[in-house]
């Protein structure tokens, strides 16, 4: 029964485009799906290693810009008169390169910033995202700055002997996002069940103990940051090729908040958490739009956010599991120790 459940959920979601004819709702599903992938990547950092990054949108944006630029081509002059000309490449290579470049930035940021923890880490991550936004805004020659990159082609997939397939229609984009979501889910679930995952959790629960038994803290944190950033980059790439235009607004702080609240609402450190939270916060704006004034929609969004934190601080998924008495592998990953203890250490 428990083994079959994820398959049943997948089946339900796979059937959505077959019975849902409303393109607006399908569009909401697709953009929500993109943000769920991003939220899942954030969950790897926040839920499994306990590091709250409020600059996660930077990797999302880097993936989006890289992927778009690889498939559109560019011509820039760097320092000392070195000129880089790039002819447009197939779009699928943009997706892969976007993922890799975001991962590379994850490595650099992780390597540098895991020297600081807690509030300091949070603020370094915000600063990093702001700097990336300002680079995207001001490096006009490469990114077109505020003029935005337009006419971004849809993602295409070449299959030798069969021809190629482009993800233009809503339905195909839905399955594309669902596919990436499933792959991300599998990667994360494999990872957290492995030795690496157990080391990460040990680290979150009690860092000094983990160090004393020989866990190389920085190495595992950096590894988590690389995978997390790469996945966020992949989500960004999907976003760029679906929306077909990106500008520096892709680095909006609100997008990070959306990802964080999706994770927290669903349940930090649970595999299903970001999906549950993502669906809720992806569709709140859609539902609120139907009855509330614009400002009131936002006020409801904020109020719901606070309400969730008050009532279910551990998130919805752990609450449901507790209710039904289900216990599974997610339990070990969950935060059980009150972190006020952690906070005390820091002061």
């Amino acid at each position: 029964m428990k083994r079959l459940f994820p398959w049943a959920v997948l089946l339900v979601f796979a059937s959505v485009p077959l019975w849902l004819n409303d393109p607006y709702l399908l569009n909401a599903f697709i953009t929500t799906g993109v943000f769920i992938v991003a939220a899942m990547s954030l969950n790897l950092l926040l839920g499994y290693t306990g590091q709250l990054s409020l600059g996660h949108v930077a990797f999302f944006g880097i993936g989006a810009y890289t992927s778009a630029l690889v498939s559109l081509g560019f011509d820039v002059e760097l320092l000392f008169g070195i000129r880089v000309v790039h002819e447009p490449w197939p779009v699928w290579s943009g997706f892969i390169i976007g993922t890799l470049v975001a991962g590379l930035f994850g490595y650099l940021v992780g390597k540098l910033s895991f020297r600081v923890r807690d509030a300091y880490f949070v603020i370094v991550s915000i600063s990093f995202a702001e700097v990336t936004r300002l680079v995207a805004l001001n490096w006009v020659e490469l990114t077109q700055g505020p003029l935005a990159l337009t006419s971004i082609p849809p993602l295409t997939l070449g299959l030798p002997g069969i021809g190629y397939f482009d993800f233009y229609s809503k339905q195909s984009n839905y399955y594309l996002v669902l596919g990436v979501l499933v792959i991300s889910y599998v990667i994360i679930s494999r990872l957290v069940k492995s030795r690496i995952g157990r080391a990460m959790v040990a680290l979150k629960e009690n860092e000094s103990l983990a160090v004393s038994v020989g866990i190389d803290v920085t190495r595992y944190l950096v590894l988590a940051a690389v995978i997390s950033a790469g996945m966020a980059g992949a989500a960004g790439s999907l976003y760029a090729h679906y929306l077909k235009i990106i500008d520096p607004d892709v680095f909006l702080f609100l997008y990070t908040i959306t990802m964080v609240i999706m994770v927290v609402t669903g349940g930090k450190g649970t595999l299903a958490g970001p999906i549950v939270g993502g669906l809720i916060f992806g569709f709140i704006p859609v539902i609120a739009r139907s009855f509330a004034a614009p400002e009131v929609q936002w006020i409801l969004y904020g109020a719901f956010m606070i309400l969730i934190l008050f009532v279910l601080p551990q998130g919805i998924v752990p609450a449901i599991e507790k209710w039904f008495g289900v216990s599974n592998e997610a339990d070990e990953a969950r935060q059980n120790t009150p972190s006020s203890a952690k906070t005390q250490d820091a002061s």
């Binding site: 540098l112 910033s113 370094v124 001001n138 908040i257 004034a293 904020g302 956010m305 972190s339 006020s340």
Partner: protein, 290 residues
């Protein structure tokens, strides 16, 4: 040379307001370990309050300033009691998210009440600038500069010379011991958040008259105050004061001599650099605040 001198004058005025923004935030973080994302909204609250009092009710500008500070104090106490007190034992990330929720609500309530069109406050100061040799500055800026320094000084005295300040410092060092020694930690938290909020509202009240008041004005203020607090080291009032001036200097020089497009990047680049080389900020003293 004249240009450089003018940049320095600009820096001093801007820096004093940044410092005022920073100390409120650092006080709250130092004592309560709360990353207060609503700080910028309390700043906007102060600005709108002065607009309400001075422009709509016709109250004297200086009295309106004082009322805004009192209102900020009450607003802070209210937030503390309703949102933070029930979350006392939650971890730092959770309270931070609660404050982000509060930020979204407050900002859109302002938008709902006041609309998006910017508001300006008239002041009794003459519009013609004050000229000293080749340098210029407005009378209002000069007033803001001294008012900000005065408030910073008053906060410093409050923390270091009063009984309340002593209890706050004790709570900062060790909450549990302070509680055992008879300090009412609950009350200290409320006082801290109220004072921090009053300082943010004071900054907003002063700067609302200098700038234009909009519902979004808090966003930038919040980001800048984080930068200032990190520069100075979380929990250090002296550090936040100096941090405010450093950030202003970096921005002035960045816009004046590097590129105005990267003006706002300067602060963040400094933060990243500072944290990499000195992870606890430039002036953090872990054992005490003040």
């Amino acid at each position: 040379m004249v240009e450089f001198g003018q940049h320095i004058i600009n820096m001093l005025i801007l820096g004093s307001t940044y410092a005022l923004l920073g100390i409120g935030l650092t006080l709250i973080f130092g004592i309560m370990r709360i990353v207060n994302f609503a700080h910028g909204e309390l700043y906007a609250f102060g600005a709108y309050f002065v607009y309400l009092a001075a422009m709509m009710l016709g109250i004297n500008f200086f009295i309106a300033l004082l009322l805004a500070i009192v209102a900020g104090c009450l607003m802070g106490a209210l937030i503390e009691v309703t949102l933070l007190r029930p979350m006392r034992n939650a971890d730092i990330d959770t309270t931070m998210l609660v404050m982000i929720g509060a930020m979204i609500i407050m900002q859109n309530t302002e938008q709902f009440i006041w609309g998006g069109v910017g508001k300006s406050v008239n002041t009794p100061f003459p519009q013609a600038p004050l000229q000293v040799g080749p340098f210029f500055l407005s009378w209002l800026s000069l007033f803001v500069f001294f008012a900000a320094l005065g408030l910073i000084g008053a906060t410093y005295l409050l923390i270091n010379r009063t009984k309340l300040g002593k209890a706050m410092r004790a709570t900062f060092q060790d909450r549990d011991t302070a509680s055992l020694m008879g300090v009412n930690v609950q009350a200290i938290y409320m006082a801290t958040f109220a004072i921090g909020s009053a300082l943010a509202a004071a900054a907003g009240a002063l700067l609302g008259a200098v700038y234009v008041i909009t519902p979004q004005m808090g966003n930038l203020a919040a980001l800048k105050s984080f930068a200032i607090v990190i520069l100075g080291g979380l929990g250090s009032i002296g550090g936040a004061t100096i941090g405010g001036f450093i950030l202003a200097l970096a921005e002035e020089m960045g816009a004046g001599y590097v590129s105005s497009g990267y003006r706002d990047a300067m602060g963040f680049l400094i933060i990243i650099a500072v944290l990499l080389f000195r992870p606890t900020g430039l002036f953090a003293r872990k054992e005490r605040i003040g």
